[in-house]
Each structure stands twice: as C-alpha cells, then as structure tokens.
Amino acid sequence: MDSRLPPELRDGVRDAFPLLLGVIPFALVAGVAGVEAGLSPLQTVGLSVVVFAGASQLAAIDLLGRDAALGVVVVTVVVINLRMLMYSASIAPYFRDLSARVRAGCAYLLTDQAYALALARYTGDRELRRPYYYLGVAVTLWVVWQAGTVVGVVFGAAVPDGWRLGFAVPLVFLALLVPAVSDAPELATAVVAAAVAVAGAGLPFNAGLLAGAVVGVAVGIAADALLPGSGDGADATEGHR
C-alpha cells in the first residue's frame, strides 16, 4: 500500500480485512437475491449504493418479491436500520471537529462493523487523528460491498433456477437472528414476533411483519422489566452492537 497514506488509514484497511470473510458472501447474496426477485441489475446495485445496509436491503428485496405494499417495504427498512441511531450517538463525539461535509460522508459510511472497530480503537487513545482509521475501515467495507453486489448480480443472472439461490435470503436472516437471541427477554421477543407474523401472514400489505415486530419489541421490554436479575434494560443495550 502507498506509504504516503496516513498510517491510521492503513491500520483501518488492514483491520477490515478479517471482516470481509463475512461481508463478501452477504454482498453476493444481496446481488443474487435482487436479480432473483425481479429487480434489474442497475436497481440491485443502486440499492447497495443508496441504502448500503445489508439486512435492510435483503428485507426490501424479499418484500418487493412478495409484492408487499411499498410503504411496508420502506418502514421495514427504517425499522431494521434504527439500531444505527445508537451507533450515531455513540461515535458522534469523535467526529465533532470535522466539517459538516466530512461528517455527512462519515455518516453515509456508518455500518455495524465500522462502528465497532472504530469505537474500540478510539476509546483506547485520545490523541488520534480521528477520521482516518474509521474511514480506512468504512471505505474498505463500502468498496467490497459494492463489488460483491455486482459479482452477485452477474452470477445470479447466470445460475439456473433449480439451484434455489433465493433461499439464501431467509438463511442470512437466520444467521443474523441466532446471535441476536442471547438471553430470555430476547428469546421471548423472537418467539412472539415469529408467532404474530405467522398468524398475520394473510393480512393485507404484509402488516403481519410490522405487527410481529411491534408486539415482539413490547414483549421484550416487558420481559426485561418482569424477569428477576435481568436488571435495567439500558444495561443490556450497552454491550449490544
């Protein structure tokens, strides 16, 4: 790599590499699934560039494929990405000296992984030139995400339907769901959300999905308050990325 680059930036790029093992297959699925759901190649890549948030992209593709109401698709994307409010609040102090334009760029690139790595780095050392490490991680992830989507689009269009590559979408959701269920309130959340969604599967506009999500979150909050020993819900949030 060019030695004129700030060392912080190079550190960020280097630290992002192990993450690519998880990012590349996810990006390929986003590309394949878009084409399988009937989006054009340009729309599928556009989704990756404009939204740039994997789980919400797959949800949008899944729902568009089922002809869900457009409002439900957008609301689902928003709900899935709401977690980034917490990242935004948590990383904001480190970006406060930057210009509004650079801050907007940093915000656009904000992902689970870039947030986690940058926060771990910044809390250890106060003297860093702040955005470089973050940008090293975030830009690497962005480039690989877009390239992976393009490869997935090309590959997905060439694969016979019998391979059932579209099935990778619910499988990715399962891969994300299982680690998100690590204690009793989260288990109650998932079970109730699933039951409500299945019961409401016949509702118009895919309203069962939103009903399941809302009721699930309410059950999680209630279970957290009721179960002994689980303490204040805000504590559980601290360790949650």
Binding site: L21, G22, P25, V29, E36, S40, Q43, V51, A59, L64, G65, D67, L70, V74, V77, V78, V79, I80, L85, M86, S88, A89, S90, P93, F95, R96, A104, C106, A107, Y108, L110, F167, A168, P170, V172, F173, L174, A175, L176, L177, V178, P179, A180, V181, T189, A190, A193, A194, A197, V198, A201, L210, G212, V215, G216, V217, G220, I221, G233, A236
Partner: protein
C-alpha cells in the same frame, strides 16, 4: 418470486429507504452538542428490534402449511433447521448459508 412492481416504484423504495437510512446515520453525528444521548426508553426498545424484526421476517418463510409431521419435513424446513444449528455453533454467515443450502438440496433429493 419476482416483483410485480414497475421501475418507478422500485426506485422510489430505493431512494426513500436510502434517504431515511442516511438520516438515521447522520442524526446524532449532526446534532452532537444539542442532543448527545439516545433517550433511555428508545434505547431500551432498540435493544429488541433486531430479534423482533428478523424473527418476524423469517418465520412466514418456514411456517409449515399444516400441523402434520409430513408438512414439517419440507426441504425448506430441513434447510432452515440445519442453518439454525450451524448459526448457533459458528455465528458465521457464510457457514450458515452453506449449511442451509446443503440441507435444502439434500432434503429435496432424499424426501
């Protein structure tokens, strides 16, 4: 399943979803100094959003048509069960998807 929506509707979803997502990302980064913290009730609710939304998203894909043993043994459910087992052990997206696809096709071949 392919979408019945035309290009205009799909692009509308992409643009509106993208703008909303950007607004979420920018929120506190932009407002820092005026609003420094996520209000505590919202923070508590957000902790349960991933489990709730993901469960509600996948459940209909794997729900059996009827409550008979035969309906429980579809290739999709076998693949999903394999994926959950591997996700539990590895917490890795790549291995989870691989296990689910292998499970699906093995079950299609065997059942």
């Amino acid at each position: 399943m392919t979408t019945g929506y035309g290009p205009l509707s799909v692009w509308a979803v992409i643009v509106v979803g993208g703008l909303a997502t950007f607004a979420i990302r920018l929120s506190f980064i932009h407002l820092f100094g005026r609003v420094d913290e996520v209000p505590s009730p919202l923070r508590r609710a957000l902790a349960y959003v991933p489990a709730a939304v993901l469960a509600a998203l996948v459940a209909p894909d794997f729900a059996p048509a009827t409550a008979t043993p035969a309906a429980l043994l579809t290739p999709e459910i076998v693949g999903g069960a394999a994926a959950v087992a591997v996700a539990w052990r590895t917490e890795d997206v790549l291995w989870t998807v691989a296990a689910g696809m292998v499970g699906l096709h093995l079950a299609r071949f065997l059942l």
